[in-house]
């Protein structure tokens, strides 16, 4: 067997302690746990999707690194400057129970919103929106109504989805979004509801009511039970 030469010595201090040059990301790629290290916060980033003229943004368990199963009891989606291609359209959400083949889970929901115009051309309102809620419907849930497509207009917010993999209870979700409505109004929406199924939810999809998701970031987090 031929000799193998390694310049190990330079990677140690004179006292024999390993220097940074000796260990890089590849060196530790097989380490799966750091038992003496704090596990960090309870909210773990799972997946970031950056939209770019996207017909929709979907998160399906087991696809492209997405985890949406019983690993976490609660999941959170975060929306950061979601910008539509078309003007004054709605940002929509639906869920799948068949691995993303169909987004048509039955939902019963409620929707309240408050708005305030920059020029107060309409009076400020806080109202329940019966036209935006769902009653045992498989349709898309509106989570941002009348979003503008001006260069600086967008939607941000978050959605919690509770225990999507459960097979006993319906699946509760809560959404809060803040956006600039196409007529230059601050729109703040509160949407709650449940997917009325005891099947596991394994996919969530976001899209516009018309046109593409021109830009924006949607992040998926898992929230640990302990």
């Amino acid at each position: 067997m031929g000799a193998i030469t390694r310049t190990v010595a330079n990677n140690f201090t004179t006292g024999g302690v390993i220097l940074p040059a000796a260990i890089n990301n590849a060196s530790v790629a097989s380490i799966s746990a750091l038992s003496q290290v704090s596990s960090g916060g309870a909210e773990v980033l799972i997946k970031t999707v950056t939209a770019s003229s996207s017909a929709n943004v979907s998160f399906v368990d087991g696809t492209s690194g997405v985890v949406l199963d019983n690993t976490y009891p609660v999941y959170k989606f975060e929306f950061i400057n979601v910008h539509p291609a078309d003007d004054r359209i709605n940002f929509l959400m639906n869920m799948s129970a068949d691995g993303g083949s169909n987004y048509n889970v039955t939902k019963t929901t409620n929707c309240s919103l408050t708005y305030h115009a920059e020029t107060e051309f309409v009076s400020t309102q806080f109202e329940y929106r019966a036209d935006l809620d769902l009653a045992q419907s498989t349709g898309e849930q509106n989570i941002g109504s009348g979003l503008g497509n001006g260069n600086d207009e967008s939607l941000s917010g978050h959605m919690f989805l509770f225990n999507p993999s459960g097979t006993t209870h319906v699946k509760q979700f809560m959404v809060v979004t803040q956006m600039l409505e196409g007529q230059d109004m601050s729109f703040n929406s509160y949407v709650g509801g449940y997917a009325n199924t005891t099947s596991a939810i394994d996919g969530v999809r976001f899209k516009m009511s018309s046109g593409n998701v021109d830009a924006g970031i949607i992040k998926l987090y898992g929230i640990k039970a302990s």
Binding site: A22, S30, A117, N188
Partner: protein, 218 residues
């Protein structure tokens, strides 16, 4: 080339495995990720400020493009003046005017300790339409020793030079008239200039005590 001598042997077991003394924090200073280790929490604590009869509480660093959103958390904010309001504004660059243009909404739910009187209302006097005033967060706060307010505010992509800056707040409060009150505040800074700093203060008097923490959300 001369020989390099290292005392490695003392840091190895007889089986050739490194013992703890062989690796310290410096050793792993070049490691930025463990590919097989689940990532840690998404909230990175950037700064903690404790109020102590403070006229203002300013966060003037750490707010940039490092994170896509930032979260302020308020813990038992206690004002010095009864009936004063807890409020905030932001500014750009190194400016200290704290007068960015805001369009916002404010609604609240309230319930008295004496029972009855539950209400839900929009607060016309506490929203803004292209205003540059400080945005109200806490409403007519009480100064009893056990009163205060706690909650959070999230600001989305403050460093963006494309979008205006959305914010969402929720604040549970002890009103001066012994009401439990929760405020839901949201809106946007109507600027495409990067926002770099925030100021929190009382509408009258000081912030007597309380803690504000700033987190980056990865």
């Amino acid at each position: 080339m001369g020989a390099i001598t290292r005392g490695i042997a003392g840091n190895l077991t007889t089986g050739g495995v490194f013992i703890a003394s062989a690796i310290n924090n410096t050793s792993v200073g070049s490691v930025t990720s463990f590919a097989s280790v689940p990532s840690g929490g998404s909230l990175k604590l950037l700064q903690t400020q404790n109020a102590s009869s403070s006229a203002t509480i300013d966060f003037t660093s750490n707010i940039d493009a490092t994170y896509k959103s930032y979260m302020f958390r308020f813990y038992n904010i206690h004002l010095a003046t009864d009936g004063a309001e807890f409020e905030f504004q932001a500014d750009t660059g190194t400016n200290t005017n704290y007068n960015q243009t805001i369009t916002s909404t404010y609604f609240l739910a309230e319930h008295t300790e004496a029972s009855g009187g539950g209400a839900f209302s929009y607060q016309d006097s506490r929203d803004q339409a292209q205003g540059t005033a400080f945005q109200h967060l806490g409403v007519d706060l009480g100064t009893d020793a056990d009163q205060g307010c706690s909650g959070f505010m999230q600001i989305f992509e403050p460093a963006s030079t494309t979008f205006r800056k959305d914010f969402i707040c929720q604040l549970q409060q002890a009103h001066q008239n012994d009401l439990s009150l929760v405020g839901y505040i949201a809106g946007y800074f109507n600027t495409t200039t990067a926002i770099t700093r925030f100021r929190f203060k009382a509408s009258s008097g000081n912030v007597d005590s309380g803690t504000i923490k700033l987190y980056g959300v990865s």
